[in-house]
């Protein structure tokens, strides 16, 4: 009984190590495919369409409403102290440092990452990947690398759009509807948001999240158990692990970038 459970714990631990190792080797394998990919950029363009362009709608609407809510709540609090002129600073800093990169990455993992895991998992279940190998085509280079690169490229672009839409929608609510002075809204924002410290760091975050989300998505898909239950499980794991990784990494990155 006891021996059995000890053996179980050992087995679980070892399988975690094994999975981390597999994932790392898989990442190297993906990156190794970049060179041959440069000869066929149309593969990436196709994947930017399905990962980036198709995620545009959810990003636009989320950015719009997040900006509006932030502006409304910020106004209600700030107006009590008579400093509603700082609304622009509040909204833009939280948008650029935190909400933009994190929310865009979470939405992206739900919209594009899950689809990617299901697609690759189903390719494996229907033995399309195996048949590629039979034709001496490396499925990682042909299928996985273009999707990975396209996703890593798309997320920062989506994040920029999310931030811009959020800030302009907060301007709409705060300044045009609630009557915060337009001049102080923009001038205080420009005085307190630093290009390098805030915006560039926000994009670095977004790039890191892009790599992590795509890595988890393609790994889970490629190593899914090739049954319908296995693919559905892999899709769930892809979204859950991505969300946890994004939030955990966000804390680490924030403490490095903005902590004292």
């Amino acid at each position: 009984m006891i021996l059995e459970s000890v053996r179980n714990i050992g087995h679980k631990t070892l399988s975690i190590f094994q999975r981390v190792g597999q994932a790392s080797i898989f990442l190297l394998h993906i990156l190794g495919g970049i060179k041959s990919l440069l000869l066929r950029p149309s593969l990436i363009v196709q994947q930017v369409y399905s990962a980036g362009v198709l995620s545009l709608l959810i990003i636009l609407f989320s950015g719009l409403f997040v900006g509006m809510v932030l502006s409304l709540l910020g106004y209600v609090t700030l107006v009590e102290f008579g400093v509603e002129g700082s609304l622009g600073v509040l909204v833009s800093l939280s948008m650029i440092r935190e909400l933009g990169p994190v929310l865009a990455a979470l939405l992206f993992s739900g919209r594009a990452g899950s689809a990617l895991t299901a697609e690759i998992g189903l390719m494996k279940a229907t033995e399309q990947l195996a048949s590629m190998e039979m034709m001496a085509v490396d499925p990682v280079k042909r299928i996985v690398t273009p999707r990975f690169i396209a996703g890593v490229f798309s997320l920062p672009v989506l994040t920029a759009i999310f931030m811009a839409v959020g800030i302009y929608s907060s301007f709409l609510v705060g300044s045009i509807w609630l009557g915060v002075d337009e001049g102080s809204f923009w001038s205080q924002m420009q005085a307190n948001v630093d290009f390098q410290h805030d915006l560039i760091n926000g994009f670095i975050k977004s790039f890191v999240f892009g790599v992590v989300v795509m890595w988890i998505a393609v790994f889970e898909g490629y190593h899914a158990i090739p049954t319908s239950a296995g693919v559905s499980e892999a899709t769930t794991r892809s979204v859950v692990y991505s969300a946890l990784a994004i939030l955990g990494l966000d804390f680490i990155l924030t403490s490095i970038m903005f902590g004292l």
Binding site: S42, Y49, V157, M163, A164, Q190, F195, D198, L199
Partner: protein, 152 residues
């Protein structure tokens, strides 16, 4: 692999949108828009006490922003705080300009306010403003009031 024309167009629009968004953010939201392109010159000023003054604090003349604090250091020879101000070149200041540290509002940030002087000669890059008034530190004021009250 042949791509359909719509796919290519959509990806093109997507990438352009991203660039426009990044461009808008950089110019309208961050300080990049109002720092670049303008000519500026540096002037040093020494204070006994700078209070809570920070780098990038505002420098104003009659309430108009004309520059920023670019560096704060402690000068051991003089035993004073050395503040480097980066001022917009279009504003010429006479050499007897006076610099004071004020607080914006009751709890606001501290900034440097300049009072124009009467001399014709103007400050050049690297010059030093000698007429200064330090920051008001709340504890010092309370201390003075206490001394006044108790001595009566």
């Amino acid at each position: 692999m042949r791509l359909s024309k719509t796919t290519e167009i959509m990806v093109g629009i997507f990438v352009l949108l991203g660039f426009i968004a990044a461009f808008l953010l950089a110019l309208n939201v961050t300080n990049l828009g109002n720092l670049s392109s303008k000519q500026s010159y540096d002037v040093k000023v020494y204070f006994d006490n700078i209070g809570d003054l920070r780098t990038r604090a505002k420098i104003s003349m009659s309430g108009v922003k004309i520059g920023r604090v670019s560096r704060i250091a402690y000068n051991q020879e003089r035993g004073q705080a050395e503040v480097t101000m980066t001022l917009d070149s279009q504003y010429k200041l006479s050499i007897d300009t006076q610099a004071s540290i004020y607080t914006a509002g009751l709890l606001g940030e501290q900034y440097i306010s300049l009072e124009p002087g009467a001399e014709d000669e103007v400050l050049k890059s690297g010059d030093v403003i000698t007429l200064t008034q330090s920051a008001m530190v709340l504890e010092e004021i309370i201390g003075k009031v206490m001394v006044n009250l108790t001595s009566k």
